[in-house]
Amino acid sequence: MLELSSVHYTYPGRDAPAVRDLSLAVKEGEVLAVIGRNASGKTTLSKLCAGILSPQGGRATVDGLDTRDTRLGPDVRRRVAFLQQNPETQFVSVTVEREIASGPENLGVPAADARSTVGDMLEFFGLVELRKRPPGALSAGQMQKVLLASLLAMKPAYLVLDEPTSYLDPLERDAVGGELRRVSRSLGTSVVWVTQFLGEALALPRIVAVADGRVCFDGAPADFLDDGDALALLGIDATELEHGTGGGTQ
C-alpha cells in the first residue's frame, strides 16, 4: 500500500501550501488517475507519493516505510519509480539501450536478465531502430517512451507518472496509454497516473481530482462525470467534453 495521510506541503518562499490535509491510499496493483488544473497540486502529490518530497505535516508511507526516514530511502526507491513531466531532465546515459539498462543494472539484476529486459522494452515501445541514438537527441515523444521503458525495466511495485503522455501525439497517446494499462495488469504494478487528459482518466478504474491542494473527488469515472461540483472546480465544461482520438479535454 502507498499511502498519504493528511499530508501538507508548502514550497520554500511560498505562502500558500501546494497540498493541504490530503489523503490518498493506493493498493497493490491499483491503477488510478490524478487530474486537476494547472498548479492545483498534482505534481506535488506525485512527488510525495514517490518519496521525492517529504510531507511537512501528516505521513507518507510506501508498504509501511515512512518516506521521511532517510535511512529507508533506498528501500522506498526500489519500490517506487517516478516519471517527471520534462523528459530532458532525466537521462543519465549516452544511448537509448544504455538508458534502459541503467536501472536494472543499478539494482543488481544479472547481466543476461538485464539484456533480455532491455530487448523486451525496446521492442515493446518501438525503439529498436533508435537503440544506439543518444536519448537527448530524440523527439520529445520518443524521449518519453525511452523513459517509460527505463522505468518499467526496473519492475517497480508502484509507478508514479507525472503527465507521461503530454509530449506524445494523440495516436501515440492512445497506444502508449493502452500498453501501460496492459503492462501494469500483467506485472501487477500499481500506477498513479497524473494527467491533463480527461479521456485518459476516464479509461482508468479510479479518478482522484485535485483542486487547490485538496482532493475534491475520489471515485469511479462515471460518478466523476455526474459530479457537477468537481467538474466546476476543475474548470471542465461538461458541454465541451471531447471523446475523440485525442482522448481528452485538455
Binding site: 514550497y11 518562499g13 486537476g36 488544473r37 494547472n38 498548479a39 505534481t43 513531466q85 520534462n86 530532458e88 531532465t89 541514438r133 530524440l138 523527439s139 520529445a140 515523444g141 520518443q142 503527465e163 503530454s166 509530449y167 506524445l168 501525439d169 494523440p170 495516436l171 501515440e172 491533463q196 480527461l198 476543475l234 474548470g235 471542465i236 465544461d237 465541451e240 471531447e242 475523440g244 482520438t245 485525442g246 479535454t249 485538455q250
Partner: protein, 275 residues
C-alpha cells in the same frame, strides 16, 4: 557577457534587417535531413512550401517526430534549410541569410519562436527579468519596459504581483509554459511561432491561450502553431496544414478526422531523402 548572448527564440545578433508593410513569411521547397551524408541520415522535411500572411493563425499539425520543431526552427531562422528558401516578403529580412529579425519598428521583432520545453529558453533568475530580456534588448527601458512585461504576463492570465519575483524554473509546468509565451509576446513579434504551446496547459489555460493568439492574429500578427493537438488546432485556427512523411499539405479548413487519416496514410510512406 549577457549583452552578447544571442537568446534562443529572440534572434538579436548580426546586422539589423528591416521589414516594411504587411510582410509574409514564405517557405519555398525547404528540405532538411539530420546526420546528412552519414549512414544514420534521417530526412525530415522534403520540399516544404508555405506562405503565412499577416494576421493569419495557421496550425501545422504533425505527429511526434514528424519534423514540426525543425520546420519551426527554420522558419525562425535558427536553422538554415539544406535546400529551398525561407524569406520574409514585403520586407527585407532574410532568415536564410542568418540575419536577425529585428524589425524596423522600435521595440519589435519580426520572428520569435517559443520552444517546446520552456526550461530550454529560461536563463534569468526571476520571471520579470525573463520576460523583460527581449524588450530590453530592443531598447525599452523604465516604465515602458515594465508596462510591456506586465501586459505580457496578464495576457496569459499570470498575476505580475504574484509571479514577477519568482524563479521561472520553480513555477508549475503550466505557469512555465505561460511565462515562456509571455516572453515571446513581450517582443511584440510580427510572426510568432509556437512549438507545442498547449503541452502542460489545462483545458481553460489552453482555451485562454488560443483566445490570446486569436486576438494577436486579429491585430495583424501572423501566428504559426506547431502542434500534435489536432482537435484544438482545427477548432481554433484559420487554416491547418498537415506535416507527414516529410511533406506539408496546403493549408485549409480540415476536420480532425481528416488529419488523423493523413497521419495514418503517411505511415505507409517513409520520408524520402532530400537529395
Amino acid at each position: 557577457m549577457k549583452g552578447r548572448l544571442k537568446r534562443p527564440g529572440c534572434p538579436d545578433g548580426g546586422a539589423a534587417a528591416r521589414t516594411m508593410g504587411a510582410a509574409e513569411l514564405v517557405l519555398r521547397g525547404v528540405g532538411f535531413s539530420y546526420d546528412r551524408g552519414l549512414p544514420t541520415e534521417k530526412a525530415v522535411l522534403r520540399s516544404v512550401s508555405l506562405r503565412v500572411r499577416a494576421g493569419e493563425l495557421v496550425s501545422v499539425v504533425g505527429r511526434t517526430g514528424s519534423g514540426k520543431t525543425t520546420l519551426g526552427l527554420i522558419m525562425a531562422g535558427l536553422v538554415r534549410p539544406q535546400s529551398g528558401r525561407v524569406s520574409v516578403e514585403g520586407g527585407t529580412s532574410d532568415p536564410a541569410s542568418g540575419q536577425s529579425f529585428r524589425s524596423e519598428a522600435a521595440g519589435r521583432l519580426d520572428v520569435v519562436m517559443v520552444f517546446q520545453v520552456p526550461e530550454s529558453q529560461f536563463f534569468e533568475e526571476d520571471v520579470f527579468s525573463e520576460v523583460a530580456f527581449g524588450p530590453s534588448r530592443l531598447g525599452l527601458r523604465g516604465g515602458e519596459l515594465e508596462a510591456r512585461v506586465r501586459s505580457s504576463l496578464e495576457r496569459l492570465g499570470l498575476d505580475p504581483a504574484r509571479v514577477s519575483t519568482r524563479s521561472p524554473v520553480r513555477l508549475s509546468e503550466g505557469e512555465k509554459r505561460n511565462v515562456a509565451i509571455a516572453s515571446a509576446l513581450a517582443c511584440e513579434p510580427r510572426f510568432l511561432i509556437l512549438d507545442e504551446p498547449t503541452i502542460s496547459l489545462d483545458w481553460q489555460a489552453s482555451a485562454r491561450l488560443f483566445s490570446v493568439l486569436r486576438r494577436l492574429a486579429d491585430s495583424g500578427v501572423s501566428v504559426v502553431v506547431l502542434t500534435h493537438e489536432v482537435e484544438k488546432a482545427v477548432r481554433h485556427s484559420d487554416s491547418a496544414a498537415v506535416l507527414a512523411a516529410g511533406t506539408l499539405s496546403a493549408p485549409g479548413r480540415l476536420t480532425a478526422e481528416e488529419v488523423y487519416e493523413s497521419w495514418r496514410d503517411a505511415l505507409e510512406r517513409p520520408v524520402a531523402p532530400t537529395r
